[in-house]
């Protein structure tokens, strides 16, 4: 199953609701393109909702990292929302959990963008 992306705006934050798998050749390019499109439009507050991500491999992890650094280098912020246990465990193993700003509540995640 390929990854799907739905985009919505809440209080100036762009939320990408991702579903499916983020793997080499499936979701990784999709995320890259989506983030670049948002930055090109000047949307620099990005929240990736991973609640419906069923699977992610090392390529997918790498793509999340690349998205994070791309947005940061552009002067924006990218945060993660609603990690599944599998994704949470992978970020722990790879020591990326503390690199990302991970949220588990959408409202507080959105408000956190305004404080920085």
């Amino acid at each position: 199953m390929s990854m799907k992306v739905q985009t919505r705006q809440v209080d100036g934050v762009t939320i990408l609701d991702l579903s499916g798998r983020i793997t080499l050749g499936e979701g990784s390019v999709t995320i890259r393109d989506a983030v670049r499109d948002l930055l090109a439009k000047g949307q620099q507050k990005i929240l990736l909702n991973l609640a419906d991500i069923s699977y992610i491999d090392s390529s997918g992890i790498g793509e999340l990292v690349s998205a994070f650094t791309t947005v940061r280098n552009a002067g924006g912020e990218l945060k993660l929302l609603n990690l599944t246990k599998k994704v949470h465990d992978l970020l722990q193993i790879t020591k990326l959990y503390t690199v990302f700003d991970v949220k588990d509540d959408e409202a507080s995640a959105i408000s956190s963008f305004g404080t920085k």
Partner: protein
């Protein structure tokens, strides 16, 4: 692709037992569903096949790994870890080893013994020295967009061995079964 894979499997090099019928059916219908029943031999079996250097092959190998891990009796937390480790090995073979070269193939073998699940993935690439791989946990590498595959393989498997084939690399992944899993 499913037809090609089935043909490849039918040329199989069986060593210890017959080919599991569920594997053939899973391939034959071209879907990713994994048969969970009708397995004649749950303790020892072996299958080996040759595939093109494509992402479709990676997905098939991942599915087969999941199937074998289930048959070997691993728990629901361990099965996806094994499948992911095998997927990472297959990605390395297709992407970094053979570089999607249509003239090169990868082989995958799955063997369930009384005490282990053993998966071997080989490519025909330039070779891989695992000692030269950067540590993905090092601060200078933590934000790299790649380089975590071998690390995850090692994290999820009990033993990981590299063998240079000149040309190519064989990666052997081993997960030990507990006595209860092996049924002995």
């Amino acid at each position: 692709m499913a037809k090609k894979l089935k043909e490849a499997i039918l040329t199989i090099r069986t060593s210890t037992s017959t080919l599991p019928s569920s594997l053939l059916s899973a391939v034959d219908d071209g879907h990713s569903s994994i048969a969970r029943t009708s397995l004649a031999d749950s303790t020892t079996s072996r299958v080996s096949f040759t595939l093109d250097s494509t992402l479709d092959s990676v997905n098939k190998i991942e599915q087969t790994a999941e199937q074998y891990a289930q048959r070997a009796g691993f728990d629901e937390d361990t099965i996806p870890h094994i499948a992911m480790a095998v997927r990472e090995a297959a990605v390395n073979a297709v992407l970094h080893g053979n570089a999607y070269d249509v003239n090169k193939h990868i082989t995958a073998s799955f063997e369930t013994t009384s005490d282990s699940l053993v998966i071997r993935i080989t490519d025909q690439g330039p070779g891989l020295d695992p000692n030269t791989l950067p540590d993905p946990l090092a601060p200078e590498n933590i934000l790299r967009g790649s380089g975590r595959g071998i690390f995850l393989i090692r994290a999820f498997m009990d033993e990981v061995n590299f063998r240079q084939l000149h040309p190519g690399t064989e990666l052997t992944l081993i997960k030990h079964r507990t006595p209860a899993q092996s049924g002995t």
